[in-house]
């Protein structure tokens, strides 16, 4: 009788593993962070676009010289938006990608990059802003 009961007993079934739930939360959180990063990075990107247009209409100036002029006028603002914030958001997004990579246990492939493409884009934009500022 007892043996019959044991045979009938099955392993507990979970529709979703705890690990999958955790990964889903991490993915959602990473997307939220990348959206906030995008909003904050849109400010320096907008300034760069505006200065680029200004330098195109003014043959004596260039984007770099316009950025230097802005830095001289508004030092704290420019350091904050062109250096500190991009570095912070770059680190946040790198950590998000690393967390997803560890939890998903998958090698870095096109499928993985497809999942985190928005975070990668934010990192690339951050690097672009920092490069334009330090040049």
């Amino acid at each position: 009788m007892a043996l019959k009961k044991i045979i009938q007993m099955t392993k507990p079934e979970f529709k979703e593993l705890k690990h999958e739930e955790l990964l889903s939360d991490v993915l959602s959180n990473a997307k939220d962070k990348s959206v906030v990063s995008w909003w904050w990075l849109s400010v320096p990107l907008y300034i760069i676009a505006a200065l680029l247009m200004k330098s195109m209409y003014n043959p004596q100036s260039s984007l770099i010289s316009e950025i230097h002029e802005l830095t001289n006028k508004e030092r704290i603002f420019s350091v904050m938006f062109f250096l500190i914030l991009p570095i912070i958001f770059m680190l946040i997004n790198i950590l998000s990608i690393r967390k997803i990579h560890i939890l998903s246990e998958s090698p870095i492939s096109f499928k993985f990059l497809g999942t985190v493409w928005y975070n990668v884009l934010i990192i690339l934009f951050s690097i672009l802003i920092i490069l334009i500022y330090v040049l």
């Binding site: 959602s28 959206v35 995008w38 400010v43």
Partner: protein
């Protein structure tokens, strides 16, 4: 601690509660005030828009940060 004030749809945080809607309305009122202020000092339409978009992006960034900090964490059942 989860605050269910906003939910994210795409790159926008949409209010989900009354407090969220109050914050969103505050954002709209601020944008209208800024536009009127910028428009009164500018010399052309492009001058108004260029300066207004700059302030709009900064206020949008602050709004998104507040919304993210107070947004709902959805858990799969």
């Amino acid at each position: 601690m989860n605050f269910p004030w906003f939910k994210r749809i795409g790159i926008f945080f949409i209010p989900a509660t009354v407090i969220g809607w109050i914050l969103f309305a505050g954002e709209i009122v601020f944008a209208v005030y800024i536009f009127r202020d910028v428009d009164s000092k500018s010399h052309s339409v492009s001058d108004s828009l260029i300066n207004f978009v700059f302030y709009l992006l900064i206020s949008g960034a602050v709004y998104s940060l507040v919304a993210w900090l107070t947004s709902r964490r959805y858990k799969s059942v």
